[in-house]
């Protein structure tokens, strides 16, 4: 047995040495790669300038577009149909990478040299990783008018360059159930509420016990739902490395939870309760959520699944001294794969999807495009089933939108730490101070 052990060890040593060699070889190969890879897009640009003429002459081009949830998303096909109608020589194929793990799946595909041309970028941490890895083509010289995008392009610009074009941009609003407010005899929320007023209103409208209990507010289990009220004053961001400013927000949210004004986080998490069900079943009078919920709510009211048939939206509550209409936002963007051989064709499609034409098509499906011209807002408010009151329409416009996660090259790691601390604080596994301490320590360790 001893002999066997000795042999095992010597074998392992031998393998280690082989590994060293292989790694060196690998290393050399890899370090010689980047210049080639970097020069590729440039070359392609030249090639494609020639191609362009041919393309307009009708050469067949097939673009592969990475997306998620084809079946649940209403605007992909209309976008493609409209584009192909104008460009009969172009074919667009979608590749569904699923929504749950989209960014990871995408980056894996790009590393594996999949032949994708156009890709959707789901969130900022994912965008940061893609930019870091050099996977996306620079769009800053492509003649895009960034002023149309409500400041979102500036927020994803790195060293003067941006690599993706927002095509959807949602912001957070408050959904409320008018019937429940009427029943409680409480005035509806307004488009100009401070956070303290929102809290007071939630406490006023809470009623009942047991199965029929109506909670005044509802915070979904995402970190962004309760904790990001803290960034609305514009003094801090979640990539600062210091999180003491979040304390007061957690205090009032936990107070609501303890007083039974909102549902308990731990239970929601354990039962994996989806926020839509809570609103549909009239379990909450108000709910802060992104504007992406509007088309779902409209549709489910029509299908009868949502019992909250008399509803409205108002602008997000804001801290004292901050203008109404200040809110949180998320963007979804499209980008060109830097390794695609069809740079110009891909760019043209990206500019269509993210441009004004694309915005109108997206708005027709009830989704919020990144370009919010008056025409787009009208289109959205005209949607069949959208609340008819003036306040709801007005709530669609914003004055200042902070991204849920600002651009940072460690965004993915920071998000991981914050989510965990959030979970700890909300379940009571940590006190607020311990949770904030955890964020401070771990994020500053990340920032180095």
């Amino acid at each position: 047995m001893k002999k066997m052990l000795k042999r095992t060890l010597s074998l392992m040593l031998a393998l280690l040495m082989v590994a060293g060699l292989a790694a060196c070889g690998n290393n050399a190969e890899q370090t010689s790669n980047p210049p080639a890879a970097n020069s590729q897009p440039a070359e392609n640009n030249n090639n494609n300038n020639n191609n362009d003429n041919q393309q307009s002459a009708g050469e067949e081009v097939t673009l592969k577009w990475a997306v998620w949830d084809i079946n649940l998303t209403t605007y992909y096909q209309p976008l493609i149909d409209a584009y192909v109608a104008d460009h009969p020589n172009v074919k667009i194929e979608m590749v569904d990478l699923g929504s749950s793990d989209y960014q990871n799946a995408l980056i894996t595909q790009l590393t594996g040299n999949a032949d994708l041309d156009v890709v959707c970028v789901k969130d900022i941490p994912g965008y940061a990783n893609l930019v870091k890895g050099g996977y996306l083509s620079d769009l800053s010289g492509a003649g895009i008018d960034s002023s149309l995008y409500g400041g979102t392009i500036e927020q994803i610009t790195v060293d003067g360059k941006f690599y993706a074009l927002p095509f959807r941009s949602d912001h957070w609003v408050v959904y409320y159930n008018k019937a429940l407010f009427d029943a409680a005899g409480v005035d509806y929320p307004t488009n100009d509420m401070t956070i303290a007023e929102y809290d007071a209103l939630a406490r006023q409208v809470t009623s009942g016990t047991g199965a029929g209990k109506v909670y005044g507010s509802h915070f979904h289990t995402w970190r962004s739902a309760p904790s990001l009220f803290a960034v609305l004053d514009g003094q801090h961001t979640v990539v600062d490395g210091s999180y003491d400013f979040m304390k007061s927000t957690y205090e009032w949210v936990l107070a609501e939870q303890n007083d039974g004004i909102c549902q308990d986080y731990g239970t929601l998490k354990a039962t994996q309760t989806h926020y839509s069900g809570v609103f549909f079943n009239q379990q909450c009078a108000m709910m802060n959520m992104g504007s992406w919920f509007i088309p779902t709510q409209i549709e489910k009211v029509k299908s009868g699944e949502s019992l909250a048939t008399n509803w409205g939206i108002v602008k997000y509550p804001h801290p004292e001294g901050v203008a109404a209409g200040t809110t949180l936002g998320t963007i979804t963007s499209v980008a060109v794969n830097a390794a695609s051989a069809k740079q110009d064709a891909a760019l043209d499609f990206v500019k269509f999807v993210g441009g004004e034409q694309g915005a109108e098509i997206i708005a027709k499906t009830g989704t919020f495009p990144a370009i919010k011209s008056d025409a787009v807002l009208d289109e959205l408010a005209k949607m069949d089933g959208f609340p008819t009151d003036e306040a709801s329409k007005e709530a669609l416009s914003t004055t200042q939108v902070y991204l849920e996660m600002p651009m940072h090259d460690k965004a993915a790691d920071i998000e991981g730490v914050l989510n965990e601390a959030h979970d700890g604080i909300m379940t009571g596994a940590m006190t607020i101070d311990e949770g904030i301490q955890k964020m401070n320590n771990e994020v500053s360790a990340l920032l180095g």
Partner: protein
């Protein structure tokens, strides 16, 4: 007389304990089955109804349309069958050489297997993933096949069994003019049914149920396996308890069939494989 009643008393106690333990073990499955036939609102109703008075067979119809379950099942079935066949074939082939043939480098090669048998895949999953990506195998079922079809475990298990078959049997066959391939095919394979059954159960079950492997490699929805699909389903329809349970039941059935079909060989297979240490 007294002693005899003591013995039966002991027996009864054993039965009672066993029945209680079996019930505890099987309760989650019974609950799964029961919940899969209920409406969402009735799943958690208390006191609960073990046999639903109004069984919702519709749940078993709806799961096929809510997610591409058929696609997930066919992906998993292809993967599992190919991996199991490859595993059985290549392992018993290699094990025959290790057990019954003398050749150069035998000990060294076998040591390569032994040294890695205890090493969890999680230790080298990251470099393996990078390597597979480099080979362009990402997001392909082929990656999963390469990953699971050639395990040290299979070779080890089969070799242990072949070691127990007397060498004289092979010698006699050689004298009768059988080639080594013939011996493997005509003598070894028929004799090794219990260990082939054991290896089939292990490989089939592991491949069918594997989660982390497909999670790393398979991304496009049309390539996902049943376990990934089930997990996705749970994420998307978290409150559709009845449907989740129905899909879970469907995911369990193939494994149950394979296991029940082969289980009579199983204890024998493990006993003869030296797996007991």
């Amino acid at each position: 007389m007294k002693e005899k009643s003591g013995v039966t008393g002991g027996k009864i106690a054993v039965y009672v304990i066993l029945i209680l333990l079996s019930i505890l073990t099987i309760i989650p499955f019974a609950w799964m089955l029961s919940a899969s036939l209920k409406l969402n609102k009735d799943v958690f109703a208390w006191p609960m109804e073990w046999i639903p008075s109004n069984p919702q067979w519709q749940n078993y119809v709806n799961i096929w349309t809510k997610i591409p379950l058929l696609k997930f099942i066919s992906n998993t079935a292809i993967l599992t069958v190919v991996v199991t066949l490859l595993q059985l074939l290549t392992s018993s082939f290699a094990a025959y050489a290790f057990a019954k043939l003398r050749f150069r480098g035998r000990n060294l090669l076998f040591l390569g297997y032994i040294a890695t048998i205890a090493m969890p895949w999680q230790v080298y999953m990251v470099p393996q993933f990078l390597m597979m990506s480099g080979m362009g195998l990402n997001d392909k079922l082929l990656a999963m096949i390469c990953l699971q079809a050639f395990s040290a475990f299979g070779v080890f298990l089969m070799k242990q069994f072949y070691d127990g078959i007397p060498d004289e049997l092979c010698e006699a066959a050689r004298i009768d003019g059988l080639s080594e391939y013939g011996i493997w095919r005509r003598i070894m394979l028929p004799l090794s049914k219990p260990s082939l059954a054991t290896l089939t159960i292990f490989t089939f079950v592991n491949t069918w149920n594997d989660f982390l492997g497909p999670l790393l490699y398979l991304h496009t929805e049309s390539k996902k396996t049943l376990q990934l699909g089930l997990r996705m389903f749970i994420g998307q329809y978290s409150a559709e308890y009845g449907l989740i349970m129905a899909a879970s039941v469907v995911a369990l059935i193939p494994v149950l069939i394979v296991f029940l079909a082969l289980q009579k060989y199983f204890v024998q297979g493990i006993a003869s494989s030296g797996l007991k240490g």
